[in-house]
């Protein structure tokens, strides 16, 4: 059977992708970030998954305001890289896993989570920046990736509780898949940041630290955090942290902390990163 063995959490800041693509990762501004990801890249190379379920939000690339799905799963064979306004990032196309993606869609919908099934869309920095952070700049990504999109742009996003429950449903779905597959789940976005209007530039290290602690130790308690608290404490764009609850719940209750990193600033944002392994794996 397939199993989710690890979860990786990371911000997906566009400027991080620009630093990788532009070859400026070793300058004074960025080297404190990329040095810490050396460990993560080695861990990733030593723990190669067959498939990653990559929970992220689309940033007006796959969807515009004509259609706003709350949860959407990518079921196609492959996904091209989106042009977000100054050309697509120079990274390989993303290869999907339609068998597992369709299996998850069927299982999770029958488990009462009404996913939108997507077969033709392009992926943006929300998905590709975490891949670059963990895999560097390969000619082809070394595993399959199932894009799993959560709306966090049009208010209201799904609640933390709904994201947490969905994570549990994803774990159940993966464990019902017959083929032996090592599956990782990634939660992306965050941490505290506000990109708009006169409070932009907000960072709340104390709140972020508590978020990381509680995410690891008691994610169900964390799932009760209200949307207004996210926006007030972590900024209007910090609310995307609800996506981390999907990945955390999907890993199961008992976990081992492999990597933890927090850094301010990365452009406008507090960058957070965790690697957790399932405790009995």
């Amino acid at each position: 059977m397939a199993r989710i063995t690890s979860a990786v959490f990371s911000s997906h800041i566009p400027a991080v992708g620009a630093a990788i693509d532009g070859g400026t990762t070793d300058n004074e501004y960025w080297s404190p970030v990329f040095k810490r990801f050396e460990f993560s890249k080695q861990w990733q190379a030593d723990n190669k998954p067959d498939v990653i379920i990559l929970v992220y939000n689309d940033h007006a690339s796959a969807f515009d305001l004509r259609v706003v799905p709350t949860f959407a799963i990518g079921c196609s064979e492959s996904f091209e890289i989106a042009d977000e306004g100054w050309g697509p990032r120079p990274v390989p196309p993303v290869i999907g896993h339609p068998d597992l993606a369709w299996h998850i869609a069927q299982s999770v919908i029958l488990d009462s989570f009404d996913l939108t099934i997507c077969n033709d869309f392009k992926v943006d920095h929300g998905l590709t920046v975490p891949l670059s952070l963990m895999f560097g700049q390969p000619d082809a990504w070394p595993c399959k990736v199932i894009p799993f999109m959560v709306n966090v742009i049009q208010y209201p996003p799904p609640t933390g509780k709904r994201c947490f429950d969905l994570g549990n449903a994803l774990r159940n779905a993966v464990e019902k898949f017959d083929e032996d597959l090592n599956v990782h789940i990634w939660g992306t976005g965050g941490m505290s940041h506000q990109l708009q209007y006169t409070r932009a530039g907000l960072i709340n290290k104390e709140w972020d630290t508590n978020f990381l602690n509680t995410l690891i130790a008691d994610p169900e308690e964390l799932s009760k955090t209200s949307h207004t608290e996210y926006i007030r404490e972590a900024g209007s764009e910090g609310i995307e942290l609800v996506m981390w609850l999907v990945a955390r719940a999907a890993l199961g209750a008992q976990v081992n902390e492999i990597q933890r990193f927090y850094h301010v600033p990365a452009s406008n944002t507090a960058l957070g990163h965790l690697i957790l392994e399932k405790a009995d794996s």
Binding site: P14, A15, A18, H59, A60, S61, D64, L65, R66, A82, D83, E84, G85, W86, G87, I153, Q154, Y155, P156, S192, Q194, L195, Q196, Y197, T198, R199, A200, G201, L202, I203, N204, K205, E206, W207, H227, T228, I231, R232, E233, G235, S236, E237, V264, P265, S267, N268, A270
Partner: protein, 128 residues
């Protein structure tokens, strides 16, 4: 009973809720058109003519032509859609955000290097 809109008490913040999304629909869809290279060229070649093709309000057109991002946000623009506009100018999020908060890019970067805008005094309209 009314919906909970307690987020409206947060200072310096415009949440992209239903009201803003309805107000900004055409402005945001205009921004989406700039994901295509040929449209970016056409827009930069004659901005007034390009925005006139879209059913925008006068304030939305003014916001776009003057790159007044706070005005665009007040008129329903969402930052991820507006990013297509400032990417067309080859400006980064960091540069654009510094303008929104009335700082030079250097001063803004300095604030971020020092830990960002603090939460103290910025939680509620009552305290700010």
């Amino acid at each position: 009973m009314a919906l909970d809109k307690s987020y409206q008490d947060i200072p310096g913040t415009i949440v992209f809720d239903a009201e803003m999304s309805r107000k900004g629909y055409h402005l945001n869809q205009f921004c989406m058109s700039l994901r295509k290279e040929e449209n970016r060229k056409r827009f930069l070649g004659n901005e007034q003519a390009y925005v006139d093709e879209w059913p925008l309000t006068d304030l939305q057109r003014k916001g776009v032509l003057e790159r007044d991002y706070n005005l665009c946000i007040e008129e329903g623009g969402n930052i991820y859609f507006l990013s297509k506009l400032f990417y067309t100018d080859e400006h980064s999020f960091e540069r654009t955000v510094s303008k929104m908060v009335g700082m030079t890019p250097e001063t803004y970067r300095e604030m971020m290097l020092n830990g960002g805008r603090p939460i103290e005094g910025n939680r509620s309209k009552g305290e700010s």
